[in-house]
């Protein structure tokens, strides 16, 4: 894994030719160079388009590398900025139609509606996606970047900043939904001269790629959000803890930090004020548990990433035992927009206690896999069927898994539930960081529960007994069920064990590990019973052994 994927090597080459950079181009093609499209050689498309456009003598056309255009399923994607026309599955050898469309762009053109996938979304944290060059500070500034920071540093006190964040109703986008304003206030009021801001970019949930996309598509926004937070809580040093599995995100972050430092957006005397704040990157090393805040801190401190009991909370005693603010990528990415457009604007979006928007990664057996941002309170049906385009091959929808290994599977009956922190918990699932895995009738729910349990037992740090031993025992019981060796007693034992692991584990990993079992038992108990009593797998996924002596 030490090799950096080719797709992830930093792209240093600017394709825009110098002479046309002076005046605004007549037409612009956005080429998606986020990880998904890049792995389908979209960089070659950028290069090829540049060559073809130059050959065709189109001097007033710009070919621009941008971050994620969202509809990853149809990549590589190219969009004509002026008309909004989207080209899907483009190859470097067939860029002709794109060039023709660029040549046709007229001054009077307006962006046409792009269909429900785009129109039903509301972009806040991802507002610059597919618009800015993720490696260009100028581009970010041009689109309103660092305006919020300027306002904060020149016109506001730290108390006012915290009040605005509190008023916006923003809650932590990493999973549990702790009110962001309250967390900031706790850190600001904590005793201590040295304080830290940490951005949690250890996006470990399988099936979630929101944070990766934000870092790859709009890294400056995260830096701006962190700087604002640092001002609000009186911190001078920041860390971004990013997964090593995301080399492109790391490369773009490094480049963004360097450029921001040079331009005076990071370092001492930020934007000609006396405020100082700097950011360093720390790489994760393949441990899911490091998404837990105390484990993450241990990892930054160079130790084994094992969580410790709280209290004390990191807000009081965190990194190097100093007060520490930890928020996730999406939370920080939402902050600049909130402070630019005002907290009331943000609080008006969403429903109940879940304000604003949420980014989801749609994946699994859904047509439009990709990254979407929607107002809180949109129903699962709208997200999966209107935006997601329904199930592949028109198969029947069976369940959607949210919240990763601590989450649950929600069946078709509840598709009309508005998505909020509270409603998902009520359904036995969890908001989590925003992964949404759609499943059809080819998935066996017991097998899915076993998959997540396998994940948890593998990622358990081994510190506390219930998680270390209990997750393995639950996996063994699930394995018995899926191989047709189980009895009704095993099912009762599974439920008993799940309850105890949930209640007694030290950290969120163990406490959340039984959730996939609970939720599949709640909605798909008949599938469990079919495996146990009839020794068959309704979805045809599990290999059931012939009825034989039950040995153990």
């Amino acid at each position: 894994m030490s090799d950096m994927p080719a797709a992830a090597r930093p792209v240093r080459r600017r394709v825009i030719t110098e002479e046309i950079a002076e005046e605004p181009p007549r037409a612009t093609a956005y080429v998606c160079e986020a990880a998904s499209c890049l792995s389908l050689q979209s960089h070659d498309i950028t290069v090829r388009l540049g060559e073809v456009v130059a050959d065709a003598g189109l001097g007033d056309v710009e070919i621009k590398r941008v971050g994620c255009l969202g509809l990853c399923a149809a990549g590589p994607l190219v969009e004509i900025a002026e008309t909004g026309r989207l080209f899907e599955k483009v190859t470097p050898d067939a860029v002709g139609p794109v060039v023709a469309a660029l040549a046709d762009v007229k001054q009077t053109d307006v962006r046409a509606p792009q269909g429900p996938f785009f129109e039903k979304q509301l972009r806040v944290a991802t507002e610059n996606f597919g618009r800015v060059d993720p490696e260009s500070l100028d581009d970010y500034v041009e689109r309103g970047g660092f305006e919020a920071l300027r306002r904060v540093l020149s016109d506001m006190t730290s108390t006012e900043v915290r009040e605005e964040v509190t008023r916006s109703g923003l809650r932590g986008r990493g999973g549990a939904g702790f009110p962001t304003g309250l967390k900031w206030t706790t850190v600001a009021k904590a005793q201590g001269t040295q304080k830290y801001v940490i951005c949690n970019a250890d996006e470990g949930d399988p099936g979630a790629f929101m944070d990766r996309s934000v870092l790859e598509s709009d890294p400056y926004r995260v830096l701006e959000g962190m700087t604002i937070a640092a001002f609000a809580v009186h911190a001078t040093e920041g860390y971004i803890y990013c997964r090593a599995e995301y080399p492109l995100a790391v490369a773009r972050l490094r480049s963004a930090i360097r450029q921001a430092q040079r331009a005076g957006y990071l370092g001492s005397g930020i934007m000609d004020t006396s405020f100082a704040f700097d950011v360093q990157i720390r790489l994760g090393a393949g441990a899911f548990v490091c998404g837990e805040e105390t484990a993450l801190i241990a990892s930054i401190e160079g130790r084994r990433g094992t969580p410790r009991p709280r209290p004390p909370y990191p807000a009081v005693s965190g990194l190097f035992e100093c007060p520490t603010l930890i928020n996730n990528v999406e939370t920080f990415a939402s902050v600049p927009t909130i402070l630019r457009k005002g907290p009331d604007w943000y609080a008006a979006i969403g429903v109940g206690k879940s304000k604003g928007t949420k980014v989801f990664a749609l994946a699994g057996r859904v047509v439009n896999t990709g990254l979407v941002e929607v107002p809180m309170g949109m129903t699962l049906r709208e997200i999966i069927f209107d935006i997601g385009g329904g199930i592949i091959d028109g198969r029947p929808f069976k369940a959607v898994q949210t919240g990763g290994p601590s989450g649950g599977c929600i069946p078709a009956d509840h598709l009309d539930t508005p998505v909020t922190y509270e409603s998902l918990v009520e359904l036995g699932s969890f908001m989590g960081s925003g992964g949404m895995i759609v499943m059809d009738d080819t998935s066996c729910m017991v097998d899915v529960a076993k998959y997540f349990m396998d994940f948890c037992r593998d990622e358990s740090c081994g510190k506390c007994t219930p998680c270390r031993v209990g997750t393995t025992q639950m996996w063994m019981l699930l394995d018995r069920i899926t191989t047709g060796r189980a009895t009704g007693g095993d099912l009762a034992q599974l439920e008993h064990l799940a309850a105890i692991v949930q209640r007694t584990s030290l950290c969120g990993l163990g406490q959340g590990a039984p959730n996939p079992v609970f939720s599949t038992l709640r909605y798909f108990r008949d599938e469990y019973l079919a495996h146990i009593e009839e020794r068959r797998c309704p979805a045809g996924v599990c290999t059931i052994e012939q009825p034989a002596e039950v040995m153990a």
């Binding site: 080719a6 599995e245 896999t369």
Partner: protein, 163 residues
């Protein structure tokens, strides 16, 4: 305070140790630089051998047992040299429900190794990843650093066998 030892010298005059030394020095040679230092050593040498672990531990004043504890805790670190080629199969949820299990089984059969192992001829190392974040491309694998999306088991096996 940990006892400060005399700064140890690099295990050999291999230039790559300079990279590791620089990365540690930039963080003040403090114990908290341990994971960064291990990253640097693994980037430089491809894996972490005893020399690297000793050198990093001694430079940062971290007990050897702790260095080893950290190096074995994180799945990204490897203490064995990798094969000529690497194939990383994503086992994230989206890949799982789209057939990652079959791909892995196919590779295990044809290469005769289980994940985290290298074939006897040292050609291919088979690895798994928790989630590459390439869920739209599920099932995804990384072959020698290149992400491949919507992989079919047979094609992949054929490609690896040709290597």
């Amino acid at each position: 305070m940990p006892i400060r030892y005399a700064r140890p010298s690099a295990p050999s005059d291999d230039k790559r140790w300079k990279i590791v030394e620089t990365r540690m020095r930039r963080l003040g040679d403090r114990p908290y630089a341990l994971i960064e230092a291990l990253h640097a050593a693994q980037e430089a040498f491809g894996y972490l051998d005893d020399d690297a672990l000793h050198f990093v531990g001694d430079t940062l004043g971290v007990p050897h047992s702790r260095v080893y504890g950290v190096a074995t805790f994180y799945s990204f670190f490897t203490l064995k040299p990798q094969g000529e080629h690497t194939c990383v199969v994503c086992t994230g949820t989206a890949c799982y429900i789209n057939g990652a299990k079959e791909i892995l089984a196919g590779l295990e059969r044809s290469l005769g190794v289980t994940p985290k192992e290298t074939t006897a001829d040292g050609k291919v190392s088979l690895l798994t990843a928790r989630c590459l974040g390439a869920c739209s491309l599920a099932p995804a694998v990384i072959v020698d650093g290149d992400v491949q999306g919507k992989v079919r088991a047979a094609d992949l096996v054929a490609r690896l066998e040709a290597m």
